[in-house]
Structures are given as structure tokens and as C-alpha cells.
Subunit: 105 residues, 2 copies
């Protein structure tokens, strides 16, 4: 059974989808938390003001836009920021949105 959900290739990244993902403050918070720690994290370890099912939806939107990669370790669904891929497709975008200065606004 294939448990790894589908991910877009870098060549299929779409700026509209990426911005639609990042315009949501909860989803932007997930990206920022991944950027700040620099480590892959299980879904349950994020500090989010939404229910588990809503969070699952947000992770899915981020994955489908190409912002995160999801994979399983045992029963934990892990999330990795696709920084290299994003930097390749949209140089500077992640940096601009995840600096402490931007986040504070």
C-alpha cells in the first residue's frame, strides 16, 4: 500500500497555488515554524489554533502547492519544508515571508 501522498514536481509549481496556500495565516504559520526550526516535524508538534482535522486540511493544501513534503515515520506523518525546490521555482519568496521581521507584521 502506498502511504506517501502525491507531491508536485518543481516544474509544476504554480505561483497562484503557492500564494493561495500562503495567504492563509495558519498555513503561513506552519511554513514559518518549519523554516525557523529547520527540521522535519510531525503534524502534531505544531502550535496551531485549529482542530486536528482543519490542520490536516491545511497541511494538504501546503503539500499540493509544493511548499511541504509529507512522509510517514511509523504512524507519524512528518512534514518537511521544500525550501530548495521553492527557492529554485520562486527565488527569495520563502525568505521574504519567513523572516522574523515579516512574521512580526
Amino acid at each position: 500500500m502506498e502511504r506517501t501522498p502525491p507531491h508536485p514536481e518543481v516544474s509544476a509549481f504554480d505561483l497562484q497555488l503557492v500564494l493561495e496556500a500562503l495567504v492563509d495565516p495558519v498555513r503561513r504559520s506552519i511554513v514559518t515554524q518549519l523554516a525557523v526550526t529547520g527540521e522535519d516535524r510531525a503534524c502534531g508538534t505544531f502550535d496551531l489554533p485549529v482542530s486536528k482535522s482543519t490542520a490536516t486540511h491545511h497541511f494538504k493544501v501546503l503539500r499540493e502547492a509544493g511548499l511541504i513534503r509529507q512522509y510517514y515515520v511509523g504512524t507519524s506523518r512528518m512534514n518537511a519544508l521544500r525550501r530548495t525546490d521553492m527557492d529554485q521555482a520562486f527565488p527569495g519568496l520563502l525568505d521574504a515571508l519567513t523572516t522574523p521581521r515579516a512574521v512580526a507584521r
Copy 2:
């Protein structure tokens, strides 16, 4: 009579408002057209796939987010990209979104 509409100060720029402005493809197109030409332009000179009244709304959203400055020259409402202000508030964001590479996606 004051004909210049209100504009936010840089200190009041809000990333959420800026992203809500930029997530719309028509508004992003206005910003890109201003960035590419590097000149202030009257509302009527933009190549936009919407009605005049809809375009007016889009210009207003961009102005209220701090992305453009609007002023009158005679009866023409001019639009200027607030690049310096945006670069100060969110370094790299405009560059990331208005490069030909990003626009092509």
C-alpha cells in the same frame, strides 16, 4: 477639496493585507506591470481583463495594502508602485513576485 485618497504609512503595513492583495491575479498583474515599466501609470493604461469599475476596486485594494500610491494629474488617476516602502517592510517580496520567472508561472 482633498482628492488624494488615504495611504497607509510603512509602519502600518500588514503582511496579511499585502498577501490578500497579491493573491489576486489581476492585482498581481497591475503590480507586475508597474514593476516592469518602472514608471507611474494612469489607471486606464493597464492591460486588464476586467471592467473599469472592477479595476477601480483592485487599485483600491492595492492602495490600502500599501502596494501602490495613487494621485491625480488633471483628471487622470496615476498609480505608483511603492517599491521602496515595500522593500523596507518586506525585503525581497516584490522582487520574488515580479521577476519574469515568477510571472511566467
